[in-house]
Point group: C2
Chain length 243, copies 2
């Protein structure tokens, strides 16, 4: 199975020192890639500069560890795992993390590799300002930042790869469940996606992260909160993508 | 010597998923804190959520290391160092990283501790939008983000601590050297700072990071690029602050 995964939040520069970013740690994408690698897949992992990365995100030595030997052993096991998957993981970092860089990176992977499955949890900017060269002076009392809508990268995926099993993600904030599912359903149609994974920030912040797996013409699957949430997501998608 | 150091770039939320941030890794602040700790100081390190942290920033195990034993030894030495400074380092994380949180954290340290020296390299937002509850819809073709100027936190420092040796930082982009020094001089007066460290992004990006140490009524010191740039900065400041 060849898989592409995208993670982190894109950045839209306002000037040389200020950016508008979509908040996203890249944790979900990193976890998805780890699951896919453990299932034997080859993975292209496209990520923004500050996104958490598969396996590397666990490579920090806990300096406060009471028993450092355990930390050393944990890191040795991690390195064994890392070496065993290393040749199947292709990290594709974006330099700044703009939407344009993201579109390029995704297009290149999808048009040069025979990708079976695409997970796109990257939080992509909907709007971008026209970047100002240098640094905007801070003398004025008010500043208005005019932004234009960015092209929706996910809508082009089906053109780049007619056969890929496409998984989009829809994050909302404080929307009721039926409305969230309706929006995810619409997203499937407009993005020509096989599946849209819908979730709500309010649940995430409250520590009860729930996923709604929405497919056109199929019943919605609900994944309850839990530490193995990403494993369960990948398990479902694996079955559906094989058909 | 009691020292406060601030690092990272502040965030100004636009809505529940988008923020305007000032780009800053927090690397300079982390290096300054390490130098101060090694000189025996007690340090309050105020930082944004994603900023690099003193010593912790070096705690990543290199999974690609050909000789893992060396990595283990390096981490053991780092842990020894960490334990030797641990009780003199007070990390003060900001929850979101807003300017208001930053002002609160700095005020509390400066008004409750008898701080001798303050380094403020944190990249602080000059403008903030009025945060929108929920997530702004992305249906419109254009979006204008109205922002207001934030209060200048550094200007209040002298009120919170009349005697602290105050070091401000001025980052410009593509400004000529005389203009950069003039702006840093003005910043010293308006911020009631003892020293303003001026630098230009163009130098940083070109790999020739140069610092201009600007003090009112004193000659400007120029610190040439080099791996020990932060050590040399702290060395100068240490001498000046003791007087």
């Amino acid at each position: 199975m060849k898989v592409v995964v995208t993670g982190g939040g894109t950045s839209a520069p306002i000037d040389d020192v200020r950016v508008i970013t979509n908040v996203s740690t890249g944790r979900t994408a990193a976890a998805i890639t780890e699951c896919c690698l453990e299932r034997g897949a080859e993975v292209w992992h496209i990520h923004t500069p500050s996104a958490q990365l598969p396996f590397l995100r666990s490579a920090g030595f806990n300096l406060d560890a009471a028993d450092p030997r355990r930390e050393h052993e944990r890191l040795d096991r991690l390195q064994v795992k890392w070496r065993s998957v290393g040749d199947r993981l292709h990290l594709r970092p974006l330099e700044v993390g703009t939407v344009a860089e993201y579109a390029d990176a995704l297009r290149i992977v999808l048009t040069t590799q025979d990708v079976d499955l695409a997970f796109l949890p990257m939080a992509v900017s909907d709007y971008e300002p026209e970047p100002h060269e240098g640094k905007i002076s801070s003398k004025r009392d008010e500043l208005s930042i005019p932004c234009k809508r960015t092209p929706k990268v996910i809508r082009a995926v089906r053109d780049w790869s007619p056969t890929v099993y496409l998984v989009g993600f829809k994050l909302q904030s404080n929307v009721d469940r039926d409305e969230l599912i309706r929006q995810a359903h619409d997203a499937c149609l407009i993005n020509r996606a096989d599946l849209t994974v819908a979730n709500d920030l309010t649940d995430v912040k409250a520590g009860r992260h729930t996923l709604y797996l929405v497919r056109p013409g199929r019943p919605t699957a609900l994944l309850e909160p839990g530490a193995d949430l990403t494993d369960r997501l990948v398990e479902h998608v694996w079955e559906w993508a094989k058909k």
